[in-house]
Each structure stands twice: as C-alpha cells, then as structure tokens.
C-alpha cells in the first residue's frame, strides 16, 4: 500500500504551537515519507507547525527534536526503536510530549 495512516500527537503543552490541537490523523504516501525523519521534516514541520519562523526552534534543534521533548512511537520511547530512522508503519501513533516542570 502506498498510502498509510499515521496518528500524530502533541502533548505536554506542545499543542500550543500546533493550532492547539493535541491529535492529528495524517495520510502519507509511504513511497516518499518512509522514516520518522521524513514525517517530521516533510509533513509535521511543513503542514502542521503554526508560524514556523517563531515556533520552529521550540520543536526542532540541531536537526532533531529539541531537548526537553520526548518522542514516543506507539507509546514506546523512540530510543527503543530507531529514532529518526524508524520506518513508519500503517496505523502508527507518533507522540511528542514536552517535559513538564511544574510542581
């Protein structure tokens, strides 16, 4: 199948730079969007991130997700998968959560 469905979530307040929406269902052509890196840089940053001039650095730093944001692939830390090189699957849930510091 060349079209796959991916759920993308922005938790821990990150939704504030994604139109205040915590969850997106995106359809991608997985002949072009193969890895998580492709999803982040070719879909999320281009289509979902609001006001990129101002907000890009809140989400991305040094060509990866910025420190303080955890990335989860189907509820597992992306370090347990292949991080940016993870190969997307149909129905994957990709979650980004900002680390909270209130007490």
């Amino acid at each position: 199948m060349s079209q796959i469905d991916i759920k993308v979530e922005f938790l821990g307040g990150l939704d504030s730079i994604f139109a205040n929406k915590r969850s997106y269902e995106v359809k991608v052509d997985n002949t072009k969007i193969v890895t998580l890196r492709d999803l982040i840089f070719d879909v999320i940053v281009k289509d979902l991130l609001v006001n990129p001039e101002e907000n890009y650095s809140i989400y991305i730093q040094d060509e990866t997700i910025r420190p303080g944001i955890l990335t989860l692939i189907n509820d597992s830390d992306w370090e347990l998968e292949d991080e940016l090189d993870y190969i997307l699957q149909h129905k994957d849930v990709i979650s980004f959560t900002s680390t909270l510091h209130g007490g």
Partner: protein
C-alpha cells in the same frame, strides 16, 4: 527493621493491610512494617507534595523529610490542600509537618527549610531510603537525579502544569535510568513552563501527586523488584477527557555521564560547584510554586 505494630496501628492500617494480591505473598504485618521502617524525603511541599504526603503519611511511612523554604501564600491554597488560610505566612515545611502530625502521629517528620543546592543535597538525602521530586525546575531535577545516582537512592519524580502531569521512577535500585538518561541535554530555558506562568488546575496536579504516592508505596513495599521493574513514564491529562498514558521508556544509557559506564559526575564536582546546574540549564528565573 521495626518489628511490631501496636493495637492502635493495627486498627489504623487494618483496611489497607487486608488488601490482597499486592504484597508479593508477604505477610500483611511484614508488608506494613516495610512502610513503618521506611524513610523518605520530599523535595517541595506544594501542589504535588500536598496529596502525596497526605497519603504516604496516612499509610504509615515511618519517617518523612520535607525540603522547602517557601512560605504559604493565598495563591497556593487552591491546590496545596495540606496548608490552610490560618497558616499563611508560615514555612510550608512547618505547615506540612503540622498537617501530617495531626493526621498520623506515628510518622516522624523532619523539616528542611532550605533550597536544595550543590552544598546541601548529599547531606540532606543521605539518611533517607527514597527521594521524591516534587519541584519546579530542570536545575533541581538534574541535581536531585545526580545526587540520587551517587548515593544509590531511588528517585520518584513527578511534575505537572495546566491540566497535565508526568511521573517516572529514576535510578530504581541503582539499575534504572536516571534523569540524564532521559534528558542528556537540558531544554532551552525559554521553553520551560511553570505553574505561576501557565496556571494549573489543583485537582489535576493533585491527581499526579497521588499517583506519585502509589508508585512510592510500590517502591517502599518492594512490589517493584530488580527483576520486574521496567522503565516507564505515566502521562495524565484531565481535560477534555481524563486519560492516563503509560509510555515504555529507555533503559540506562551506557554513555550517560551520571549513571553510565564512564561517569563524569562526582560528588566532589557537585559540591565544589564545578558542575553548575544554573549555567547548564540557562539563566531564566524559575519560581518554585
């Protein structure tokens, strides 16, 4: 280990002692005595600590230390329910102590009316078995984690802002991942939000504080063991629907500068301020609320 319970303690703890199936087949008295002989230290006496302290004291933890140099203010009371209007202006650690003493006089409470620093962290943590992080800043979280790794103590760490909260167990029994394993690099200071800037629903942070109490009970009563423990993070959100997600997290990083194979962080470097958490995390002014 303390080896007896009084009649008063039997009737006080009876309802929790008869709960089956969580004691790893331990005798209920032994299971309760594990709490009675435990010493925990809570960093912060605010919105997370309020319910967390209440239930850990209620359950019969033997000794509780409380580190906080703030005083009780009106703006705390919507969520910091162990304090009270009549105790405004008092040190939070003293106010918390009064609450605990009146709930359960069997609990020994020690107050530490200071801010946790490179200077005092080792000395304060040393007598306790488990440390609870209920603080507000990345600086304190890195410091607490580094000190727990060096002292070999489990750290139960929680946080919350707005309607959300997070909870994890760090350096579990000296084999689990530490805060630096999760966050080798600190977040840029402008991306960190606090309760005073972003607001917080009292019941939402309260719920996370209770989850922290439940996890602490599992550590103290050895429900978690080196064999069954798997690193995790719980993420709660209160609105629109209440939800609780459980994320499976990485194990220790072998390249972690704190808990890895070639450790760079030492007690000497911390106490001499060679490791400077303020410059590491950046210079924004964090309020502990």
């Amino acid at each position: 280990m303390t080896d007896t319970l009084s009649n008063e303690e039997f009737s006080r703890y009876g309802r929790q002692m008869i709960v089956q199936g969580i004691s790893n087949n331990r005798d209920p008295i032994e299971h309760q005595l594990l709490l009675k002989s435990s010493k925990i230290c809570v960093i912060g006496a605010g919105g997370l600590a309020a319910p967390c302290l209440s239930y850990l004291a209620g359950a019969g933890v033997g000794e509780i230390g409380i580190i906080d140099d703030d005083i009780v203010e009106t703006s705390n009371l919507h969520r910091q329910i162990i304090h009270s209007t009549s105790r405004q202006g008092e040190l939070k650690c003293n106010s918390a102590k009064k609450f605990i003493n009146d709930l359960n006089p069997h609990v020994k409470v020690k107050t530490h009316p200071v801010r946790l620093t490179n200077d005092n962290a080792f000395e304060i943590f040393e007598p306790y078995d488990v440390i609870l992080d209920c603080t507000d800043t990345p600086m304190t979280r890195y410091l607490a984690s580094d000190v727990c790794v060096l002292l070999g103590k489990t750290l139960v760490s929680a946080s919350g802002v707005n309607t959300e909260g997070q909870l994890t167990i760090l350096n579990f029994e000296n084999i689990g991942p530490c805060y630096r394993c999760f966050h080798p690099k600190p977040p840029p200071p402008n991306t960190v939000s606090s309760c005073s800037m972003n607001g917080v629903i009292g019941a939402c942070i309260g719920l996370v504080g209770i989850m922290q109490a439940v996890e602490t009970l599992k550590v103290l009563q050895k429900v978690y063991t080196k064999e069954n423990f798997e690193p995790f993070m719980l993420q709660y959100n209160g609105y629109m629907d209440q939800s609780l997600r459980r994320f499976r997290m990485r194990k220790r990083r072998s390249d972690c500068v704190s808990c890895g194979d070639e450790r760079e962080i030492t007690r000497e470097k911390i106490e001499s301020y060679e490791i400077n958490y303020l410059s590491f995390c950046g210079s924004r002014n964090y309020d502990v609320v």
